[in-house]
Amino acid sequence: MATVSLQKLVKRYGALEIVHGIDLEVADREFIALVGPSGCGKSTTLRMIAGLEPISGGNLKIGGRIVNDLPPRARNISMVFQSYALYPHMTVRENMGFSLKIAGMKSEEIAPRVEEAARTLDLTHLLDRRPSQLSGGQRQRVAMGRAIVRNPDVFLFDEPLSNLDAKLRTQLRTEIKKLHAKVQSTVIYVTHDQVEAMTLADRIVIMRDGHIEQVGTPEEVFQRPASKFVAGFIGSPPMNLKDAEIADGRVVFVNGDSLPLPRRFADRVTAGRKVTFGLRPDDLYPAGHGIHSGQEADVHKADLRVSITEPLGNETLVFSEHGGAEWVGRMLNPRRLRAGETLPFCFDLSQAHLFDRETGRTLRG
């Protein structure tokens, strides 16, 4: 159990700076997800916390103690790797007990702890197998078991589910969540999958190009994205983001089509401001097939021509043209649509976002 604190943490490879002085406070027992596209520096940051990469600048504190120059073994952390990183020549039991053995623990003390962890992860029947005899999901569970037997201060997960198929990923995601509820320790979890981040984390850290774009709870980053990048990254399918200009109380798109300026932004933008208009698919739906969250007055209606549909069973994603660009909307209680059909659509503008086109930051207060 420990807090982790990153203070102006920098990673440089020669002249190339990968992580640009990031600050982050992780509370004790908190589940933090670092998320971002590949190359954003999230894995590098995790590896600096683990001690696998030297820190080029700033301070890293675990449990209030500066650990910059401590080797990984002195940090009391465990890590779960994307490629499982099991020891191929050891059985599951030996893999899980290895860190305890290295710590000089006696085998009669190790055995109950390994068995306890194996029970938690439903690995008891596999204890005498070798990693090569296990499936991907089982291997990753062993890797998790190896991490929990040590009772570390901090768990680090480096894209642990990325090598698994979709079904297994969902299943293990739930297991990780249960595991965290049970062991109650600080977790830092790196993933490029925003769904994983949203479902697991107490707070999400969205990274981009070695900077932190936003830190917040899943609700915050979804509902109040601090930037165009966060808005586009969180949520599936991604938010509709269209370049526009403010003119005369309206948001005017490049081809001249327009929408009313959402009331929330009325006194925040002036005419001529170049913006990016954002609307989630949930807030663009065929009339009668969606729910608006604000007042009726904030719902703008327009006829749109359907170009393509993606039925998902309980809902259908509807792609249509507006303002010279393609928008995706979400149709609840769907009926079958024909391509080329024109329908009345609702734009729930109470949920719309405006971002500065240059800086990408939100224009909301």
Binding site: G51, L52, P72, S78, F81, A85, L86, I102, S132
Partner: protein
């Protein structure tokens, strides 16, 4: 008709016949002939002696021959010493080269230089270096003031054995280095990182993670080199020719002396079958080790 058909050899056999004939001519017949001759007092100078069958007399003589067993033991000793030294040095070299961030290809090439020389030339070179009068080594030792006398490297029996070990090790350490390096390069890096996080010191990481992975590669090198050293002849022939006073006599120098200098081919053949038996023993041993090590790391090759 039916009887004729039965006499006719099957097509697969006919198709294999050319290969069988060639193999028989170059392998089976000479092998049988040499094996047969080990039961005769065959001398190259007296061809008729080939037909004088004496049963196990040659083998009986070998079993009680002190000279033979000394050479046998010395060969095993050379094998043990040289292989262990080569493995340790090769492992060290491989780990150093693996750490190199730049110029690794160049280093790998340089590392293989000793393998590019004929063992005969290596023998000559070391014979010169260990020469007690004009040799580089005595010269260096004296210039550095470490000794003021000429050390009789190739004249003292024990020293001569170690001089041969040095030459062997110099010429063949790279086999270990290359194979172990291949293992190190093929090794996934994550288990090493996992070990560091799990609390291993660099030594423990090596001991528990790196070494088990690299071990099969070391065993491959062991297998190759044990065959190599068990038939060691060239370097010894040049450096000491089994001398002084047979103090560096190995199996094959003894066998060749018996066969050609003493012209006792029958006896020499009997010794040779013992020597081959030794090689097979080592090969089987290391192959077993290799198979075990491979299963252990779950290797897919």
């Amino acid at each position: 008709m039916g009887a004729l058909k039965r006499l006719r050899p099957s097509t697969p056999f006919l198709l294999l016949l050319p290969a069988i004939v060639v193999l028989a001519a170059v392998v089976v017949v000479p092998l049988l002939l040499s094996f047969y001759s080990s039961f005769t007092p065959f001398r190259l100078t007296q061809p008729a002696s080939l037909f004088n069958f004496v049963g196990f007399r040659n083998y009986g003589r070998i079993l009680t021959d002190v000279e033979f067993w000394t050479a046998f033991g010395r060969t095993v000793l050379l094998l043990t010493v040289a292989l262990n030294a080569e493995m340790l040095l090769g492992l060290g070299l491989a780990m150093l080269v693996e750490k190199a961030t730049a110029g690794q290809r160049l280093l790998r090439t340089i590392m293989m230089f000793p393998m590019m020389f004929s063992p005969i030339l290596v023998g000559f070179q070391f014979k010169f270096m260990f020469n007690d009068n004009i040799g580089l080594i005595n010269n260096a030792l004296q210039s550095l003031g470490l000794t003021d006398q000429a050390i009789p490297w190739l004249i003292d029996g024990t020293l001569a054995f170690w001089a041969i070990v040095v030459a062997e090790v110099w010429s063949s350490t790279s086999i270990f280095a290359i194979l172990i390096l291949a293992g190190l390069l093929a090794m996934p890096k994550e288990p090493i990182e996992a070990a560091r996080v799990d609390g291993c010191t660099p030594w423990q990481t090596f001991r528990y993670v790196t070494w088990p992975f690299v071990m099969p590669f070391a065993y491959i090198a062991m297998t190759i080199r044990s065959l190599d050293v068990a038939r060691a002849y060239d370097i010894v022939k040049i450096m000491t020719d089994g001398g002084p006073a047979k103090r560096t006599e190995l199996l094959w120098t003894l066998i060749s002396r018996t066969a050609y200098a003493d012209a006792r081919m029958g006896l020499a053949n009997a010794m040779a079958y013992f020597a081959i038996f030794l090689s097979i023993l080592f090969t089987v041993y290391f192959f077993r080790k290799l198979a075990a090590a491979r299963t252990q790391i779950g290797a897919e090759w």
